[in-house]
Symmetry: C2
Subunit: 394 residues, 2 copies
């Protein structure tokens, strides 16, 4: 058996970016992965501007609270100011460019005046209330790095630099195949011995919520030539192939033999619960991940082991899971395999779901995260444990 | 001034679900909001099944490790078993239905045998290795509640119940308008006094990443009839209208007067930094949220104040922000307004971004979350503070 960390690192060491780059509209770039460093072509803000509604003047022109300064111009946001005439003040609004010559802005609450002139009752220090050119971003500054996934704030930042388009990686295409003769699709009647296919739906939903393009190929029956033709189809259409089921050692299935004949396959026993059996290889050069068959195992292994690898194939920065700390409101006996336990966080601490079976999918819907119990450890009630909130992995 | 909590609660008290329901394919339901409780039509699993590859038998038929039991059937996943003949065992695989009459499954590692017969070397307790019918979900059990947002695991769960479609609320349509004569769209040349429009991009990206349908109406120039026609357009096309800019008290703009003339407007000073001015009202009955004009203020107020309201309009369960705890690696002086400080979490604690100006959008890209500093409090280095990771708000 290999550890979860060894499995992840082994996959990452064999990973490479599998997708080309494209330009997309900045407005449509949320969730995409940046394909090149973003260097600012301009200073932001592009000129000194006022942080307040008020009056701009030369600090040295102030002669006291009773001495009027005549108003020589009125500068609204978006207008181009003229140089400030000596001995005068300019009416100015938030975001408006400070006129050449002015060195201070006084907030309007500290002024008294008319359309034509103003008295500054309280003078701030020289330089006050001015946002300096380049204070947010400097021209030629690298503001974002290749590999970064664009959140709303990065989209806004790129726009603030004047960039209408940004270079991103094309979405990684991931083919999804679920296998098993016992599977029947929702909407049909399940006969004796059959169960509804949930793995297909879990994999589709996880992969699309992580921003990948899912190539949904449905279910493969336990038939060599059907599996073979679906695998070839997948290899032609996708950058990576993910399957569920049929990778247990000694199990009777065709996925392993098909992949072995069309490419290469490695079977791992990962020291993890749920999700021990895991296959890795390629089909005619297209990387292949073979997940176990139980729904919770699919959910956990795709999240914990598959996700970092897929993000690497997408050209994205490392996305290993990170853990918070929480207080266990439960005990767990010694485990030999690293265990991912479905829990819910409450004010008092982390609550355990009663049924931790790898078939009990309801546990994952009840839960808001996983507690990671290290191999060869136990958990005692009240202990601090690693807590992985689902929210953090979109 | 009103507090952030008062502002959120006031908006929520005036909120109602603004969207109709529709049926969507379960496969396409990720991120959607459930419009009705989901009640299971079946037991899951639908029958007792084997948790292992092994042998199924009656516990009382075991006569010791040396006594062979003949194999009367072979049950693979997906096949319908016959009742177990007395005194025999059945070969069985993981997930396959346990035959009527059998009460125990023995894992194959504890057995020795041929095609025709098996010796059970080590007998587990009666009932072992069987996943009971209904152990995950019971027929008629309410498994998901209306208002819940569907994560990958809920999508899988709905599929496991055999549901090919689920009832969801239609996506809330949110019209987005940014205002200001100083704004120029990315891709154009910014003239003197002009800045690139980032607010439009921030609002679009935030709203779409939260699952809303954005009706992007672009920029309104500071002209009464242009603002009026855009507001009417927005009210006709969307369920809620969100604007940025032009809501400061005393500011010269047309948004306030247009909204007042077409509906109703309230102007708030929220005790928050960044983002003090905030407008709320309606345009011909369509709710209106008026955000401030600075990019970081837009980002923070839409997240903190707008988001819970919009989720309520979507028919979703409460989405007030939740905070983790972190250790401040910085000090902040007394603040009279609740402050949202851009920080980054490190092994040692939470690091402060140097420029906390509401114009400094780069701070939000540098950061991975916000520290919430309560009104009338200070932060001393080393203290435990409220930390809101951005990751948690998708």
């Amino acid at each position: 058996m290999i550890s979860v960390t060894e499995a992840i690192e082994s996959l990452l060491s064999q990973s490479q970016c599998l997708v080309e780059t494209e330009m997309v509209r900045t407005l449509d770039s949320t969730g995409r992965t940046l394909a090149a460093d973003l260097v600012s072509p301009i200073d932001v803000p592009p000129a000194d501007n006022s942080a307040m509604d008020g009056f701009a003047l030369r600090h040295e022109d102030w002669a006291g609270p009773d001495v009027e300064l005549s108003l020589s111009q009125r500068i609204t946001a978006g207008s181009a100011p003229a140089p400030l005439e000596a001995g005068t003040a300019a009416r100015i609004f938030t975001g408006a460019e400070v006129p050449p010559g002015a060195d201070t802005v006084v907030m309007q609450e500290h002024c008294e005046g008319s359309e034509a002139a103003v008295c500054i009752l309280k003078m701030p220090p020289k330089g006050a209330n001015i946002r300096r050119r380049g204070q947010d971003v400097r021209q030629d500054q690298t503001v974002l790095k290749a590999g970064q996934r664009l959140r709303p704030q990065e989209v806004g930042l790129a726009a603030s630099l004047g960039l209408a388009e940004v270079p991103v990686y094309k979405r990684l295409r991931v083919a999804v195949i679920s296998t098993g003769d016992e599977l029947v699709e929702p909407g049909n009647v399940a006969g004796p011995g059959q169960i509804y296919n949930s793995n297909r739906f879990i994999m589709n939903a996880q992969l699309s919520s992580w921003g990948f393009e899912v190539v949904d190929l449905g279910v493969a029956k336990d038939d060599y030539s059907e599996v073979e033709s679906m695998m070839l189809d997948a290899a032609g259409k996708a950058d990576v192939i993910v399957t569920s089921g049929g990778v247990s050692v000694g199990e009777e299935d065709h996925v392993k033999s098909v992949v072995a004949s069309l490419g290469e396959i490695g079977l791992w026993k990962i020291a993890v619960k749920p999700g021990k059996p895991f296959a890795f290889g390629h089909v005619r050069g297209t990387p292949f991940l073979g997940l176990p068959g139980n729904p919770v195992s699919v959910f956990v292994t795709l999240l914990v082991v598959g996700r970092p690898y897929l993000f690497a194939c997408q050209g994205a920065e490392s996305r290993r899971l990170f853990a918070l700390k929480g207080k266990a409101l439960f005990s767990r006996k010694l485990t030999t395999r690293e265990e991912y336990i479905r829990v819910r966080s409450t004010e008092a601490g982390l609550e355990l779901y009663s049924n931790q079976s790898s078939g009990a999918l309801f546990s994952t819907a009840w839960a808001d995260g996983l507690v990671r119990q290290a191999a060869d450890s136990e958990i005692r009630e009240g202990e601090t444990v690693d807590y992985l909130p689902f929210k953090a992995f979109n």
